[in-house]
Symmetry: C2
Subunit: 521 residues, 2 copies
C-alpha cells in the first residue's frame, strides 16, 4: 500500500544540491494514522507471507529486481538530480542493489540459511525418553527500514535491509530518506508492482515519507513492528534505539551509524612506497565526496623520514583536490562545521584544498589534519567521525604509542593495516586490539568498497552499530530478521518442509549435532 | 579471583526454607570496588582467552566438569539445604549441568560453530577485482551472568550461561543468587580450581555475592562488560535490560523471564483420555512445586462433556495435592499473594489443595482456577505468569473463541497442543498463531523438562525473553556470546586457524557460498 497518498499533513520537496533549487513534486509527510495503517497492513500480511514457500519468496525478489532494472535511466537521472552522486556511481549502485537482491533470492532458493536442526527421539533413553525436537529460523514479522542519505539505492527503499527482510519472509515498511523522495517513490512503485505481480497482500510493502523525528518514532513505536534496520547518523540511530528499548515490548534496532575507520601505516609501508600509499589513501578518503560509512578518518603512523614523505604527499594531494557537491545542504554544512571545529583544536595543522568550496553548489572541499598522538589523545573532537572528504593523520613517537592510540579508539566498521606480511606477523598485538575495535580488518587495502558476499561483515562495536553481532551487508544480513521456532514431537506432516524427515528441500541440516543433507526415515 | 573476599560491606546468610532458619556462614555483599575489580580483571583476561586454541577451551570446560563432579554429595546436600529442591532432583540437575558443559566442550572441539565463511579473491573480476574476505565468530569479551533461584546448578554459577560464555572464549563474572550462596561458593571454587589447573588468568572467572539491585546494576554498568545472561523474574530482567540499553555503549541483556506456557486441549484429546491428560498435566504443573519457567499456567479447552470430565479430574488432582516447601520465603509469599489476587477475580472459581500450606515450612499449596474465556479475556491478572504450582483452565465456547484467546496471549517460552494428528492438521491457524507467541511448540507433551541438545530453543517473544532470537539452553546458546570478525586480504599465516586455507581444524566452512570441509590452495 502507498501510505503517503492523500495525506493532509506537511509537504516538502527534494532539492538539487548542485543548484540549491527545489525540485518538484511535493511529497507528503505521513500522518500518524497513515503510519498506523501501514504497520497494521504489514502485520496482516505477515501471516500470509509466513505461509509462502521459499521459491515464492525467491520469485518475489526476482520480480523486484526486474522491476528496478526496468526503471532504466529514469531512476538514475532522478537519483542524480536529488543526490548529485553522478550517473556512473549511481549505475554502479543500481547494479549492486539488484545483484544484492539476486544474492538473497539465491540464498532463499538454496534454503540452508534457516539453520534447521533436528534432534531425533530416543524413546529408550534412561531415566527419561528424549522427545523429537526440531528447530529452524522463521520470519520475525513487520520490519521497519530507514533509508540512508548516502546510498539512495543500495541502502534505501530496496536496499540490503529491505531485501534481507523480504528474503526472511517479512513484510516491510520503509521510511524514505527525505533527501531523495523522488528516487524513493520510483523504487517503491517498482516494489508495489512486484507485490501485485506475485499476488502478495498489499501490506507486504509500504513506504512513508517524512522529515521530522515524529514520523520515525511513530513507526518504531508501533506495537506490531518487530525489528528495525537503519543506516545513518549516530544521533538518529541512537534515538531510534532508545525509543525501541523503551517500548513495553522492546524490539531490536539494527543501526549502522558513525565510524572513523582507522588506518595503521606500519613503517615498511611508507618505506617502500610512501607516495603511492598517499595517493591511494587520498582517493579512498575523497571517494563519493567522503560520504561513505567506511571513509578512512584516522591515519596512524610512526614518525620517520618516510612518514614525513607520506604526509607531504598526502597534504599535496588534498591541497590539489577539488571541492565537490555533497548530498545535501545539511550534510555540507555539517562537514564545514566539523572542519572548522577540528581546525581550532590546539596543535592541529589543517590543510584544505586550495580551491574553496562553493556554497551555492553545496560543495565540500577535501582536507587533511595533522597532529601528534599526544595532542590527539587529549581531544575528543579528533576521535569522532568526520562525514565528508577529510582525514586526520596522527603521528606517533613509537610503535608502543601507536598501540596505545589503538586502545583508545571507539568501535568502527573497519580497521586497516598497511605494511609487509612479516611486519603484520610482528604486530599480533595490534591485530588483537583492532579486532576488538572493528568488524572488518583490512590488510594493504582500503575500507571503502564493501563487497556484497557470504563472508562480508559490515558491522562493528558501538558506536559503529547498535549490535556488533549483525551485518547490514552480505548474506548474513538476513539473520537480523529471523528467529528460531522449535517443534517438539510434531507429526512429520505438520512440520515445515525444511524440518520434515524426507528433507524435501534438500538443505543442509544439523541432525543430532552433525551437518548433513540426509533424509530421515 | 574471588571478589567477595575481605568485603567490608553488608553481610547476609542463606535460609533453610524447610525451617525458615538462617544457615551459616555469612556472605559479603560485594562492594562497588570489588565489582569494578572483577570486571577489570575479566577485561584483562579476555585478551589471553582470545588467544587460546579450541582444544584448550574444551579442556578448561572438561576440568570444570570434573571439579563439579568431584564435589560429590557435599554440593547436593548444601543445595538441598538452601533450596529444599530434594536430593534426587538436585542430583539430576547436577548431571544435567555437567552434561551441558560436556556438550559445549564437544561443540568447541568440533569447531564448526564459528560459522567460518570464505569468499576467495577474484583478481580478474571487472570492473573491480574482488578481495579475499573471510569471517568467523569470535568471543565478545567479559560476560556477566546472573544466577537463577530455581536452578541452583543448571542456571547458576556453572550453568548454561557460564558454560556457553566460556565455550565462546569469554571471561565470566557471576552474580550469585542470594538464596543459595553456599552452593554458589562451592561451584565457584570448583571453577577457580579449573582456571588454575589450566593455567588461565585469574580474571577468567569471578563471582560476587549480593542481595540488592545496586550490585546487579554496578555489574551491568561496568564499561568493559560486553553482554549479560540472566534467568529470573520479568521485573528484575527488565531492570537489567533497561540499564544496559541506557549505557553510553549499550550491551545486550539475554534475559529469560516470565512465561505462561499455554496449553491447548483440542476436543479429541479430552474425548479419548480426559483423565490421563488431567493427571499428567497436574504432574507437569506441580513438578518442582511449579517453580519452572516452563510450568504450564494456562489451559484452554472447548466446552464439552469431556472437557468437564477433564476439568473435574484436574480439580480432584489439585485438591488432593500436597503443599510443598518452595525455594524461599519471598517466592512462597509471592505465590500466595498471586493466588489470592486470582481468587478475587470476578467469575473465577478457585480450587486449592485441601491440606493448607504450612507457612513455617515455606510451603505453597497446589491450586487450579477455572474461568470462562469471556471473563478471562477481560482480566490482565489471569494472563500473567503464576510462579508456583497453579494453573488456570480457560473454557472456550468454540474453536473460534479458542483461536481468539490464543491471539490475545503475550510471548511465552512454550505453547502446547493436545489432540490427534488429524486434529492438528485441521488447526493450522492455531499453529500459525502460537508460532508467533512462543519459541517452542509441543504436541501431546508437557513443557516442563527442557532437553539440552542441538535443536533446543529455550527462548520466545517478550516478555518470555528480551531477545527472541536467542536460546539460553542447548548448543545455540553459545551464539549470545560471540560476534563476527572479518578479515580482508590477510596473509594466510596471519589468519586464525579456522580461516586458513589448509583448514587445519577440519571444520565445516561456507566457501564462496557452499558448505564444505575442503582445503583451499
Amino acid at each position: 500500500m502507498r501510505a503517503s497518498e492523500n495525506s493532509t499533513a506537511n509537504t516538502f520537496t527534494a532539492y538539487d544540491p548542485r543548484t540549491g533549487q527545489a525540485i518538484g513534486p511535493e511529497f507528503h509527510e505521513a500522518t500518524n494514522e497513515e503510519i498506523q495503517r501501514a504497520v497494521d497492513a504489514a502485520a496482516e500480511a505477515a501471516s500470509a507471507l509466513r505461509r509462502l514457500g521459499a521459491e515464492q519468496v525467491a520469485q518475489f525478489l526476482h520480480s523486484i529486481r526486474d522491476e528496478i532494472s526496468a526503471l532504466g535511466d529514469e531512476l538514475i537521472e532522478c537519483a542524480d538530480r536529488e543526490t548529485a552522486l553522478g550517473t556512473d556511481r549511481l549505475r554502479g549502485e543500481r547494479d549492486r542493489t539488484v545483484n544484492q537482491i539476486k544474492m538473497f533470492a539465491e540464498l532463499v532458493s538454496e534454503g540452508s540459511w534457516v539453520d534447521a536442526r533436528i534432534d531425533t527421539a530416543l524413546p529408550d533413553r534412561k531415566p527419561l525418553p528424549r522427545p523429537d525436537i526440531r528447530r529452524m529460523l522463521q520470519p520475525v514479522g513487520p520490519v521497519g527500514v530507514f533509508g540512508a542519505s548516502n546510498f539512495p539505492l543500495a541502502f534505501s527503499v530496496a536496499g540490503g535491509d529491505t531485501a534481507s527482510a523480504f528474503a526472511a519472509g517479512n513484510p516491510v515498511v520503509v521510511k524514505a530518506h527525505p533527501a531523495h523522495p523522488g528516487t524513493s517513490d520510483l523504487v517503491a512503485a517498482a516494489i508495489h508492482r512486484a507485490v501485485k505481480a506475485n499476488g502478495l497482500p498489499e501490506g507486504t510493502f509500504s513506504m512513508v515519507h517524512g522529515r521530522t523525528p515524529a514520523v520515525s518514532l511513530a513507526l518504531v513505536n508501533h506495537p506490531e513492528l518487530k525489528a528495525v534496520g537503519f543506516t545513518g547518523s549516530l544521533r538518529a540511530g541512537r534515538a531510534l534505539f532508545d525509543a525501541a528499548a523503551k517500548r513495553p515490548n522492546p524490539i531490536p534496532v539494527y543501526a549502522e551509524m558513525g565510524s572513523v575507520n582507522p588506518v595503521f601505516v606500519l613503517p615498511e609501508s611508507v618505506d617502500s612506497n610512501a607516495e603511492g600509499l598517499a595517493e591511494r589513501l587520498f582517493r579512498s578518503v575523497t571517494l563519493g565526496v567522503g560520504q561513505f560509512c567506511t571513509c578512512p578518518g584516522l591515519v596512524f603512523g610512526v614518525r620517520s623520514d618516510n612518514l614525513d614523505r607520506f604526509q607531504a604527499k598526502l597534504i599535496e594531494q588534498f591541497e590539489q583536490g577539488s571541492p565537490a557537491t555533497m548530498l545535501n545542504a545539511a550534510i555540507a554544512k555539517g562537514y564545514q562545521e566539523r572542519f572548522e571545529e577540528l581546525r581550532k583544536v590546539p596543535e592541529v595543522k589543517a590543510y584544505a584544498a586550495r580551491k574553496a568550496a562553493d556554497r551555492q553548489h553545496t560543495e565540500g572541499a577535501p582536507g587533511v589534519f595533522v597532529v601528534e598522538e599526544e595532542a590527539w589523545s587529549k581531544s575528543e573532537a579528533l576521535r569522532e567521525e568526520i562525514f565528508g572528504p577529510a582525514t586526520v593523520v596522527v603521528r606517533c613517537r613509537s610503535r608502543e604509542e601507536m598501540l596505545a592510540a589503538a586502545r583508545r579508539l571507539e568501535g568502527s566498521l573497519t580497521a586497516t593495516i598497511h605494511g609487509s606480511a612479516e611486519e603484520l606477523q610482528r604486530n599480533g598485538e595490534l591485530i588483537d586490539v583492532l579486532r576488538e575495535k572493528a568488524g572488518r580488518l583490512i590488510f594493504n587495502g582500503y575500507p571503502t568498497g564493501v563487497e556484497v558476499g557470504y563472508a562480508m561483515h559490515h558491522g562493528g562495536p558501538y558506536p559503529a552499530t547498535t549490535d556488533e553481532k549483525f551485518t547490514s551487508v552480505g548474506a548474513a544480513a538476513i539473520y537480523r530478521f529471523a528467529r528460531p521456532v522449535c517443534y517438539q514431537n510434531f507429526p512429520d506432516a505438520a512440520l515445515p518442509a525444511e524440518l520434515q524427515n524426507a528433507n524435501p528441500r534438500n538443505i543442509w541440516r544439523t541432525v543430532n549435532g552433525k551437518l548433513s543433507k540426509e533424509r530421515l526415515s
